[in-house]
């Protein structure tokens, strides 16, 4: 399909479904595209027919055939539209069904990042992360959607349609990815200055890998092993960082910014805005307003020689 080719190999494409729900949406799209294409060709064909056919004398016979043509096309149009309506409703109903789920994750929209909480009946096994949703393949995952400030919208096109995150109201969506892979999601409802830079990565892992991953994620942060990492931790703790950020296992327990317990294991920083590497991390810490003007992260004023140990410490938080 030309469109699919134009959109590239999609990590963020509704035309390359990687889950049952997205497949339903994609086949609905195919139905609409097919029907519309046929209708378009017919309309153009009849237009050309009308253009090139010679005008005949007025007669009772002609007005009757015109009446017939208009009636038939009206009935056909109504039937086609009704058929599309029915297929849309059927798909919508199937998508809205919430069968039993194996896992439960809460995604909270914040200006301008995503908080991701992996729920568990055992509170000690609850995991908080940010900007990255990791789920096992072939397992239905219920995602509760909340917002802490304004209306956001959760959209991972390869897995499902859009669902809004509304302050004071909980929505839910069921994700079931069919194969492991990495997909990109994005906020799909304008939510302020940095709406465009509010994205998240969805890692679909093999169920065994997922178990390994969640076990690592449950662990508290790594204890600094080298003198430089220790110095970096001291700098972190004595700077404004811990007032907003949480690092499990340390005194830093802020809840207004993304959890940094395992920041080094994440793919990106600043809500999938920049790849997570040392240089970007340094730029983000020193001047976040350059990367995301209006974001709530204030620039850090560091003394000479403080940045490198801080970066080394953050990079050790795997």
């Amino acid at each position: 399909m030309t469109l699919a080719m134009l959109s590239g190999r999609g990590i963020q494409s509704a035309l390359e479904p990687a889950g049952e729900h997205a497949e339903r949406i994609a086949s609905l799209w195919d139905v609409f595209l097919g029907v519309s294409a046929v209708v378009y060709v017919l309309v153009i064909a009849f237009l050309f027919l009308a253009l090139f056919r010679r005008r005949r004398e007025d007669s009772a016979d002609r007005s009757r055939s015109a009446f017939l043509a208009v009636s038939i096309s009206t009935v056909l149009t109504t039937l086609v539209l009704f058929g599309l309506l029915v297929s849309s409703i059927v798909t919508g109903r199937r998508l809205a069904q919430m069968p039993a789920h194996a896992l439960s994750v809460t995604v909270t929209g914040r200006q301008w990042w995503w908080q991701v909480d992996y729920e568990s009946a055992d509170p000690s096994k609850r995991v908080t992360s940010a900007n990255e949703l990791t789920i096992p393949a072939g397992v239905p995952v219920r995602v509760q959607l909340q917002s802490s400030d304004v209306v956001h919208s959760f959209w991972v096109p390869n897995l499902h349609g859009k669902q809004d995150l509304i302050p004071g109201h909980e929505n839910a969506i069921l994700l079931e990815a069919s194969r492991p892979g990495v997909y990109r999601g994005q906020c799909a409802e304008f939510c302020g200055y940095q709406h465009a830079k509010m994205a998240l990565w969805v890692n679909v892992l093999d169920p065994k890998d997922y178990e390994r991953w969640i076990a690592a994620e449950r662990a508290t942060s790594r204890i600094p092993a080298t003198p430089e990492q220790r110095k970096g931790q001291e700098i972190f703790m004595s700077s404004p960082c811990p007032l907003c950020h949480n690092i499990q296992g340390t005194d830093a327990s802020g809840r207004t910014g993304p959890d940094l317990t395992h920041i080094a294991s994440r793919r990106s920083i600043a809500a999938a805005t920049l790849p997570n590497n040392r240089g970007n991390l340094a730029g983000w810490i020193l001047d976040p307003q350059h990367v995301k003007p209006g974001s709530f992260m204030p620039p850090m004023v560091l003394e000479q020689g403080e940045l490198e140990p801080l970066l080394t410490y953050l990079e050790s938080l795997r």
Partner: protein, 178 residues
């Protein structure tokens, strides 16, 4: 001539509302590195020099006051001061100030801390955010211009909300004759 005058008046009207509406993503260096706060005593060595008046950077900036309101919750000021009504800490919406109501005093209170419970936020809150908090704290007791103060408060407050309809503003009690 008339047209020129009208243009000049329009320009003045536009420019005068600039300060209230200004939003700075990158804070000005002055607000980011201002560490001289109010003198606690009037005694100075050598010839008398007047106290350095620190000009509050955000007294008439609606955006900064609203940011201060957000930070007031984010930095857990509400934990002790509630939403200005006070609790474990003193109320901030009345006219009684233990350590002074000037912006410099409030700045010093936040940065240095005060005895019996007020923690020192030195090095923990960036300075421009302290000034935003100062502006918001002053707005709680009606010490900032009415048109710059935050509206739509969900909590109790001492002044009429800015978006209130004129009809709903309670009439002032007539001044009593002695």
């Amino acid at each position: 001539m008339k047209r020129l005058l009208a243009a000049a008046l329009a320009l003045i009207a536009i420019l005068s509302s600039c300060e209230r509406e200004e939003r700075r993503f990158r804070e000005m260096p002055a607000a980011a590195a201002r560490n001289n706060t109010k003198r606690l005593v009037s005694l100075v060595p050598g010839p008398y020099t007047p106290d350095v008046r620190v000009r509050e950077p955000y007294g008439y900036n609606a955006y900064a006051i609203a940011e201060g309101k957000r930070l007031f919750t984010w930095y857990n000021c509400t934990g002790c001061h509630a939403n200005g009504g006070g609790g474990m800490g003193p109320p901030l919406m009345d006219s009684r100030w233990i350590y002074g109501s000037d912006p410099e005093n409030i700045y010093a209170t936040i940065v240095e801390g005060r005895p019996n419970g007020m923690p020192s936020f030195r090095g923990k809150v960036p300075e421009y955010q302290v000034w935003q908090l100062v502006a918001y704290v002053r707005s709680l007791s009606g010490n900032v211009p009415r048109d710059a103060a935050t509206g739509r408060n969900d909590h109790m407050q001492v002044r009429t909300q800015e978006q209130s309809l004129p009809d709903l503003v309670p009439e002032k009690e007539p001044a009593r004759q002695p």
